[in-house]
């Protein structure tokens, strides 16, 4: 089957799915005011990669087996338009294939089904959502000890052809504008929790699936005041499974509690690694934004501003360094699939989130209140206001439009609905800060570090006898 065009993709969403937003059912996502932009962007992504060649496929379906292949995949992806749905598709499938070898040791069919599913998605050119976080109920109680057994998605019935699942999954980016839901257990499961150790895939329009959407897409008639979120946005889905049937060929884990967390770890790694290739580039953009704001406000030579920019430069440099280290220290799974270094991936994710609060403070301090009260594009176009605003907003080296665009961009991305979404998801996607620290600790070679310390101190096997033990050490 050839790849889909954007138009075919839009048409494919009219498949009887049950989607809701703001209390109303959505019958056609492509034409709903709050979902239309997200669908349009996804359609542009389809068109940007489209080829009529029956053997062609989107590079997001490539499962890299080496660093070179990973970079080749990135290179191919960079040639088209990208969006959340393309990203979640790649991450979902990479998470499955990274876990395939381990799951195959439990049941060879799991591994075969995973690779067959990847083939299916590639051939049909469908988009997949990462469906992992359960509603969880009381966070300290195990899934089978909750006041409602459905707080975690679980198998409620089965027959020879498959299983039936019930529960809800939260924060599912792009779910209602994609085709497939790739469902995984949210965490490790223990004996007695077999029904909760379920990983599988179902189509979005499967009977019993309902999705309630939330979106940071700007509201109002004129969205030009939102230069990024007005053009690119994505719904987050609250996905409900009410006795949904899953055929056997779409089941990748069913009851093997010991490996329930394998997929979560795999997904977490690829989620965190999603921005790896351009971590340095993104950080450089933030530095550039602060430097431009300083120039636009005529304070670029202020010693205090330079001091703040230096902080940002150090941040950007470390982001680039950690991104590169994650690739250079990549490993392979038993299947030969490439895995970026979990240590550097987690350390980078933690560092970026930790510094983000400070980064925003610096940008906001340099920008000033104009960031949040600069008039809109429509104000600027109004003949009664245009000349006045044009003369007030001019600055050496910047046209009034330049300055307004700069303020609008930084507000939209850091101090408005989308900025808030980016701040929180940047921190919580792939696990919160605590999870990053735990993974980093687990991956860090503490024994090696202690060995170096012992050698420096001269204890343990490095202890010398008598006077020699107290001689100065070479560091």
């Amino acid at each position: 089957m050839p790849m889909m065009t954007g138009a075919q993709y839009k048409q494919s969403l009219k498949d009887g799915r049950l989607t809701y937003i703001d209390g109303d059912q959505v019958t056609d996502p492509a034409n709903h005011p709050l979902l239309k932009t997200a669908v349009d962007v996804a359609a542009r992504v389809y068109d940007s990669f489209y080829s009529a060649d029956p053997g062609a496929y989107n590079p997001t379906y490539i499962i890299p087996r080496s660093l070179e292949e990973f970079r080749e995949r990135q290179e191919k992806l960079s040639k088209g338009v990208t969006d959340m749905s393309l990203g979640t598709t790649g991450v979902s499938l990479l998470a499955l294939t990274s876990a395939a070898a381990t799951l195959g040791t439990l049941n060879p069919e799991y591994k075969d089904r995973i690779y067959a599913y990847v083939d299916y998605c590639r051939e049909k050119d469908v988009r997949c959502a990462e469906v992992i976080t359960d509603s969880k109920g009381h966070r300290k109680k195990r899934p089978n000890k909750q006041s409602d057994p459905d707080f975690y998605v679980h198998v409620v019935d089965r027959n020879p052809n498959g299983v039936f699942i019930t529960g809800a999954k939260m924060h599912i980016s792009a779910a209602s504008i994609e085709h497939e839901l790739v469902i995984m257990p949210t965490k490790a499961m223990y004996p007695g929790e077999e029904d909760y150790a379920i990983a599988c895939a179902v189509p979005v329009n499967a009977r019993g699936v309902s999705i309630i959407d939330m979106t940071y897409a700007p509201r109002g008639d004129d969205v030009r005041h939102y230069p990024i979120s007005g053009k690119v946005n994505c719904p987050e889905g609250f996905v409900i499974f009410d006795n949904v049937f899953v055929p056997n060929e779409r089941i990748f884990l069913d009851g093997e509690t010991a490996h329930a967390a394998t997929l979560a770890h795999s997904l977490g790694l690829w989620e965190r690694a999603a921005g790896l290739g351009d971590a340095g580039e993104h950080a450089d953009r933030e530095v550039g934004m602060a430097a431009l704001l300083a120039e636009a406000n005529g304070v670029a030579d202020d010693a205090r501003i330079k001091d703040q920019l230096a902080n940002l430069v150090v941040y950007a440099t470390m982001c680039r360094a950690a991104g590169e280290a994650a690739m250079v220290n990549a490993t392979k799974t038993a299947d030969g699939n490439m895995l970026p270094s979990p240590l550097f991936v987690s350390a980078l994710k933690y560092f970026k989130s930790e510094f983000r609060a400070k980064l925003l403070d610096i940008q906001h301090d340099i920008a000033g209140d104009q960031l949040v009260n600069a008039p809109t594009v429509a104000d600027f176009e109004n003949p009664e206001l245009h000349d006045g605003l044009a003369s007030m907003f001019a600055a050496p080296g910047f046209t009034p439009e330049d300055r307004l665009r700069l303020f609008h961009y930084v507000r939209d991305t850091t101090a408005d609905a989308y900025g808030g979404w980016a701040f929180v998801t940047g921190q919580l996607a792939g696990g919160g800060q605590h999870a990053q620290r735990i993974v980093t600790m687990r991956q860090y070679d503490m024994e090696h570090a202690k060995e170096i310390a012992r050698r420096a101190v001269g204890i343990g096997k490095y202890a010398k006898k008598g006077e020699d033990n107290w001689k100065p050490l070479s560091i």
Binding site: K136, A168, M214, Q370, V372, A374, T376, D379, A415
Partner: protein, 448 residues
């Protein structure tokens, strides 16, 4: 004249003022759905304080003369709409009347008359301080002097509430150079003055169902860019014109109440953040988890220190020569600098404790929809005693104040009061009684 009711206030601002929003001229600010949010907020303060007694006046016009009165004044402002704080701030200019009289007796009389009239007629005032641009064209200045007044051109930005008040108090944005007398202008202008154009931005929610925005649907104030296109100001409304040496005094005095309100609010907000974090931790059942307790403890320290800073500002309040009690500047700046510097980190902890439902919990209208209601109640509840609805409301509140349009506006706006984080810190240093601590250091070192 007695005080105004909320309805009388609404009628009083239907005066043809040239307000703009989203590129369109707003005919009646009280009828515009977005600006009406602010009008309603102001009207509530009017109604809450209304008295038929012709001798009664709103407390915002009184200057506190004791520490207790100061504390009560701040509590009153915290419970009132934003224009109450800006109006109270303008009243502090009574402080400078004696000195103003020395450079121009007429200035003193006019300013006193203006402040008296605001009090008598229950008028709200917005302060127009920051110049609109960084080039000469963007700064408000006198472009013509006539026998009966002056003509102004330029712009002021970040004039909170300009389109919903009765008066704009225009002052220089800071000290003015000796050779720039035309920029040393302080005066009062009514929003309906000819040549004045008010461009509004607002955090009032645009969603059809605004219940998703529990704070901004009630507490949004228009942030205005005010353009002066040859606006005539009659002499009786001019309080300074050309006396550059006095420009800094006016703006500094005007800023005292704004900074104080902001520091006081920082202490309140920090406690709200802690309350929300602890509440959602309990609703999620994780209040005893170690890393959650660790984050809660950091928010607790922050909230305690913000409260301590504001308490210190009150405890060390100074009585001015005219008898007004004002909070200690160094403590105010320190509270703002410390509270602001840690603010984003604290929001990160709040978000980490809450989880991503802060962003993704569906809307109240989804909760009302019969098709989705049962699922929302079922999956948003966490345990007996925690309903899905209550948890949804907490998430909506957290998102609105910390991760949405209003949250972004509020964060940047409060950060910039007092000049930004670095300026606040530097001002804390500049206002600190260093002689005392230097003497302490010398005594400890046993040197003269």
């Amino acid at each position: 004249m007695p005080m105004l009711t909320g309805e009388q206030y609404r009628a009083s601002i239907r005066d043809g003022r040239a307000a703009y929003l989203d590129g369109k001229r707003v005919g009646d600010v009280t009828a515009d759905p977005l600006l009406a949010v602010s009008v309603d907020w102001v009207a509530k303060t009017y109604d809450a304080n209304y008295s038929k007694d012709p001798a009664q006046r709103n407390p915002m016009y009184a200057l506190p003369s004791s520490a207790n009165e100061l504390r009560a004044q701040m509590a009153f402002l915290a419970a009132s709409d934003f224009t109450a704080a800006t109006t109270a701030g303008c009243m502090t200019l009574r402080e400078i009347l004696p000195d103003l009289g020395k450079i121009g007796p007429a200035y003193k009389e006019r300013l006193e008359r203006f402040l008296d009239r605001c009090r008598r007629d229950d008028r709200r005032v917005a302060s127009a301080v920051e110049d609109g641009g960084i080039t000469a064209a963007g700064k408000v200045r006198v472009v013509a002097r006539r026998e009966d007044g002056v003509v102004l051109r330029g712009a002021k930005r970040h004039v909170l509430g300009a389109s919903v008040v009765h008066e704009l108090l225009v002052v220089p944005s800071g000290p003015v150079a000796k050779d720039d007398g035309d920029a040393a202008i302080a005066c009062a202008i009514e929003p309906s003055a000819k040549g004045l154009k008010i461009v509004n931005t607002t955090t009032a929610p645009r969603a059809e169902d605004d219940r998703h925005y529990p704070v901004s649907r009630e507490f949004s104030v228009p942030d205005c860019f005010v353009m002066f296109e040859d606006v005539f100001v009659p002499n009786e409304r001019v309080f300074l014109c050309g006396e550059t040496a006095f420009a800094g005094t006016i703006v500094d005095t005007l800023g005292i109440w704004e900074r104080a309100r902001s520091a006081s609010e920082m202490a309140d907000r920090a406690e709200l953040v802690l309350g929300l974090a602890q509440t959602i931790a309990e609703m999620n059942g994780v209040e005893t988890v170690e890393h959650i307790r660790n984050k809660l403890s950091m928010i607790t320290v922050w909230a305690s220190m913000c409260r301590a800073g504001w308490d210190r500002a009150l405890a060390n309040a100074k009585t001015t020569p005219s008898g007004t009690v004002r909070p200690d500047d160094s403590a105010v700046y320190a509270t703002k600098a410390y509270g602001g510097e840690r603010y984003n980190d604290m929001l990160s902890y709040l978000h980490d404790i809450s989880g991503a439902l802060v962003l993704t919990v569906p809307a109240a209208s989804d909760y009302d929809n019969q098709a989705t209601h049962k699922y929302m109640e079922k999956y948003l509840r966490t345990m007996n005693g925690v309903t899905g609805e209550a948890r949804m409301k907490i998430f909506h509140l957290i998102r609105d104040i910390s991760a949405d349009q209003y949250g972004g506006w509020k964060k940047v706006t409060e950060q910039m009061i007092g000049g930004g984080l670095i300026a606040q810190r530097m001002n804390a240093l500049d206002h600190y009684p260093l002689d005392g601590v230097k003497a302490m250091a010398r005594a400890a070192a046993k040197i003269e």
